[in-house]
Subunit: 416 residues, 2 copies
């Protein structure tokens, strides 16, 4: 039953029915949350042995005492792990503290002196990760929306923008299982990103935030081409900044982070960082190396995550399909990995749905949050985060959500 095609009478009846359901739910005063891209407790439990894993041994093979000061680039063993994750040499890797967001923030700040022009702009494929956009806002970097397709950002648009405006100094990318759409950039998209540095100038940076690189939900996971290899071939390695962390591998708030860059860029960044720290937490780096070991260890660990969260994504998909599948009012992504489902409304009522849901006790990510300046030009996009709530709460929250979505649409069509 496509709602868009209902007659006025049918809409009236439908509205009556939905409003009654909504009023009943609202009276129940629920307190549910679909906003948080956070691991559930059961996922965190998978890494509980991190604390205590060192068993009193704090020395590295090279004699370094991880308890003491120093080693701003990280311990060799952790740099190796990051190198395997990125597909680069360990000399190109810095291992940071518990937040890759901190590394990206500082990388951008470290570039600000080189970006001498008063206006600095970043391209922002959208919908995207709100905290990327917040970094730009705090630093006064102007953001330009770029369309994000299933195979990645619109590369023609990007080349055209960059070629015609030399104040554009960077772009934010979540190339694999993108936040929030779950799409992975195609080989062709990666190749064109590797070529971008040739036209964008030496001070342009592609912030390649590979936050979900090992976060598969499918037995046939997406494959992302190695951008650094491609960039080395194109002689544009200086334009690439790789980022990742174990936040959604081990502990969300107590993992380790990685930054990958050319040797020249890494040396410059190290110089910048050295005024603010003597080194990141090497004890925690060693814990992570002992726990995760290598890429095989990471893959085995991530399979356990998948066992926990895959059913939640399946539940979300089932709820959406059964309630909205034939109604013509929304489409949504079916990600093979990552942390989110991205839903687009055909009638552009995202803010109304978020408000209705909130009033009924189901918190959703604010409408527009996935766009620069919190401004979704079509008021279409809603991000759903299935991982954190238990299954029963997730089911209940999804029921409320789809009801609110339909109610918003019917109300809108009725008052057209």
């Amino acid at each position: 039953m496509n709602i868009i095609q209902l007659s006025q009478d049918e809409l009236q009846a439908k509205h009556h029915e939905l409003q009654a359901q909504y009023d009943k739910i609202r009276a129940a005063k629920l307190n549910l949350d679909l906003t948080r891209g956070k691991p559930a407790a059961a996922q965190l439990d998978l890494a509980n042995e991190l604390d205590g894993i060192l068993e009193g041994f704090y020395l590295l093979q090279d004699g370094t005492d991880v308890r003491n000061y120093g080693n701003i680039l990280g311990i060799p063993e952790a740099r190796e792990l990051g190198a395997a994750l990125f597909g680069v040499d360990s000399s190109n890797v810095l291992v940071g503290g518990n937040s890759s967001l901190t590394l990206m923030y500082h990388y951008v700040v470290s570039m600000m002196q080189r970006w001498e022009s008063h206006t600095v702009k970043f391209l922002c494929p959208a919908p995207g990760y709100d905290r990327h956009f917040t970094i730009c806002e705090q630093l006064g970097i102007e953001m330009i929306n770029v369309a994000l397709n299933d195979d990645g950002p619109d590369m023609d648009e990007i080349f055209s923008l960059v070629e015609n405006d030399d104040t554009i100094k960077g772009i934010w990318c979540v190339p694999m299982y993108s936040n929030p759409t779950g799409h992975t950039y195609s080989d062709q998209t990666v190749k064109r990103f590797a070529q971008l540095g040739k036209v964008a100038g030496p001070d342009f940076r592609i912030m390649w935030d590979n936050a979900y690189t090992v976060h598969h939900l499918s037995d046939t996971p997406d494959q992302l081409a190695n951008i650094m290899s491609a960039a080395v071939e194109e002689q544009t390695a200086d334009s690439i900044v790789l980022l990742a962390s174990t936040s959604k591998v081990t502990f969300a708030g107590a993992g380790i982070s990685f930054l990958g860059a050319s040797n020249a860029n890494l040396a410059e960044f190290e110089g910048y960082l050295s005024a603010q720290t003597i080194g990141f937490d090497k004890v925690n780096q060693l814990r992570h190396v002992r726990f995760l070991k290598d890429m095989d260890g990471i893959a085995a660990h991530m399979a356990k995550h998948k066992d926990i969260i895959k059913p939640k994504f399946t539940l979300v998909e089932e709820k959406l399909e059964s309630s909205l599948g034939s109604k013509g009012i929304a489409t949504w992504t079916k990600p093979h990995g990552g942390y989110f489902v991205s839903l687009d409304m055909s009638l552009g009522l995202a803010d109304t749905v978020v408000k209705l849901s909130g009033d009924a006790g189901v918190k959703l990510t604010p409408a527009g949050a996935t766009f620069p300046y919190r401004n979704d030009p079509n008021n279409n996009n809603i991000r759903i985060a299935p991982t954190y709530p238990p299954m029963d709460e997730l089911a209940q929250a999804m029921d409320v959500f789809v009801l609110c979505l339909e109610l918003a649409c019917v109300t809108h069509l009725l008052n057209r």
Copy 2:
């Protein structure tokens, strides 16, 4: 035997004797180091049980899961610990990651927007902590030396400078067991610092880096007055920023850090930080709370540090006294706590001594390092860090050092 008063013949004989000793030592190709204000391995061992102390329990009393995202101000238990350390309310405390240097760096950056004038200056009591000065250098903040006396900086000079130059926006202080002199600010000095905010304007900040607040070497430790209490009385609380860490309590590279500030300042700083992190490592904060417990726990732990490092300070003092005590060429501090001994030469030959020592295989902190721009106007000051080397190496290094110092002076007097 005061060297300054020797005759030319006596100097000649002395020089001959010292030079022969020096040549012999140089031939031995030593490799010793007196530069590092780092805990020795035995000190770090005292906190080895940190890893594993949680025994699988990651939940706080209020239900917070320390493994997950959030709580940018830190966990309540750790904020309480910081509050006890600072003598303030826990609502005035932020608990950070493994580096208080990072917190001070960011606090200063967070103020840069408020400091609108193109020129920003900081007062730098000197000799002082080189990393404070590096922060100013990287951020383009002009540094002004202020004399540091036994009871703290020259407060008359500070008031006079601040009253006559409104581009002076801050001052670096290590108020207890100062790096490198080991002096503690007197009650009167603290009182005048509390009053400084009244003449310095609302955007002036006293960076009160209390790095050695529990690091006593004496059974009759120094006492530092509570600056925040005094500032609250004077209505200048906004001018005070308190800093401390457990870097020289637990693990130098994997401790936790604290920042104390007025509620208004803390809220503003939290806003600034929120663009770069979702929160610091709460798991490590909980480890520290479980391990250190409270101020009594910290005091008991620091007594163990004292047992390890006090003999090293005693050795340094004995070597200096026995070799240089009566010679009129150097004076040095006899700290009741902290990490350093500060030596001043009467003839201004610090760079020569550092060079001679280095050539003989004993690394010293570069001459001038304890002054802004690495420029010791009198070329007098040498910082000695006794904690890191084992006792036998420390003894050997001190023998070389005092020899080099005397040789430099005799050579200078001979060629006068």
